[in-house]
Amino acid sequence: PRPEEGQLEFSVECSPVVGPGFEGQSGEFIGLGLTHMIKKIFLTSPNTFNLKSLCVLSGRQNWCLYVDTLILQMGGNLADMVMLAVRAALENTRLPKTVVVEEGEVPEIEISDDPTSLIQLDTSGIPLCVTLHKLGSKVLVDARRHEETCSRASMHVAVNQTGKVCGIHTSHGGNFTPKQVLSGVETAVTQSGVMFDSLRE
């Protein structure tokens, strides 16, 4: 990690409360896949989250945020929900303001106790995920759990507010023709536009 940047650590966990088929290894597998997807999106798109905003004292002290997601119920379309939850949680985060006090050689940090002086994080760059499932020759968005079991292939597309594609990720034996991939991406971009509009309200 760079000296002037903070850190974000992600983890997605599938609680055994979800159901009998999701305890132990299979639940872990789902969690790991989603964790990897989120890590990749945050690590590889430069404009997703400005880690410099988590800097307190460059080279010495930085904020490290642990973003842990716990899945309690499975209704289908997990990836979208998890991305939305991560974005909402980061938007809700408030960090206390810090003041650098230079006493002698080593500068020290004072964390203010005032509950009103808080820093809010900028989450405008965080993308939202749209999961597309292929059912026969049609493509379905926001599938329910039983619709997911019927689908042959799925594709997660992460789109940010400016309409740019931040990540694509296929799973479960994705069988798309190239045209379907591109039309799927187009659908994802329009759908994410709808999601962002509704978030703003």
Partner: protein, 271 residues
């Protein structure tokens, strides 16, 4: 979308021998360890590919693949009895993939991006999802086909594409019934008109780019069985990247097909 026909140079593909290590006589303390004699690659040049089938004698099928800086040994075992729970009957077979990374395979780096691309669990699930649609799993009920990969050396971002190719060749060598070959291709997208094929880690880390794209493609069925995309791309840039990748996959498929035919003819002549 329009298919732009790029002429990707084929002669850089072909190699007859595996990569040779430098003779220890030629080591000079003053020279840098990076190869200064490596030719500058143009945007449409692929790195050389070498493969040899039946490298592992006790596996049903195997393949040793060298692609650029990747050296992968893949072996296929099966069809074997499925290790799912005994009371679970499945009319379809199962494809199980295990990836292991040698400790000496890449320089240890705290670079998070490299660590992320070397995630073996992720790679094995990616391989299963890309290869599943090409193997005739219906013809192997109650059984599983194990694909084991050993990554001996890796220094490029295109490790998944090399892994998919080696797994496909090992499955072909194992005489497992398949619908089609899965080939992979990756590219670095700089802008709508500028795309660099088959990037290495150095090119990815040093270069300025908008996105990276990896595509796993089955040419005869015209099916994309996997897409991995990172960075920030508009749709036009994505279209350009996909076109180039599919073109690259087709070239690679042609080359592998001709090499396989040569191998089969040679083995027939020996008899």
């Amino acid at each position: 979308f329009n298919k732009t026909k790029q002429s990707l140079r084929m002669h850089t593909f072909y190699t007859t021998k595996p990569e040779q290590t430098h003779s220890w006589h030629s080591f000079d303390i003053n020279s840098s360890h990076k190869s200064d004699t490596a030719p500058v690659r143009s945007d449409t040049d692929f790195r050389p590919v070498f493969f040899q089938l039946s490298a592992v004698s006790n596996a049903r099928g195997s393949c040793y693949l060298e692609w650029g800086g990747n050296k992968i040994l893949c072996s296929v075992f099966g069809p074997r009895e499925s290790t799912l729970r005994r009371d679970e009957f499945s009319i379809k077979g199962r494809l199980v993939c295990e990836v292991s990374l040698c400790p000496f395979s890449s320089l240890h780096s705290s670079n998070k991006r490299r660590q992320l691309s070397l995630d073996t669990e992720r790679l094995s699930s990616l391989l299963v999802s890309s290869l599943e649609s090409s193997v005739c799993i219906d013809k192997y009920p109650k059984s599983q086909i194990e694909v084991c990969l050993l990554i001996i050396q890796t220094e490029s971002w295109s490790l998944p594409t090399a892994a998919v190719l080696s797994a496909t060749l090992a499955l072909i060598d194992a005489r497992i019934e398949m619908w089609d070959m899965t080939v992979g291709c990756s590219c670095l997208i700089r802008s709508e008109n500028s795309v660099k094929m088959d990037p290495t880690w150095d090119e990815v880390e040093e270069g300025e780019y908008l996105g990276l794209l990896s595509i796993f493609y089955q040419p005869s069925l015209n099916v994309v069985s996997g897409v991995e995309c990172e960075g920030e791309l508009t749709q036009l840039q994505l279209i350009k990247g996909m076109d180039s990748c599919i073109e690259g996959c087709l070239q690679l498929h042609k080359y592998v097909e001709t090499k396989l035919k040569e191998i089969i003819l040679k083995s027939r002549e020996k008899k």
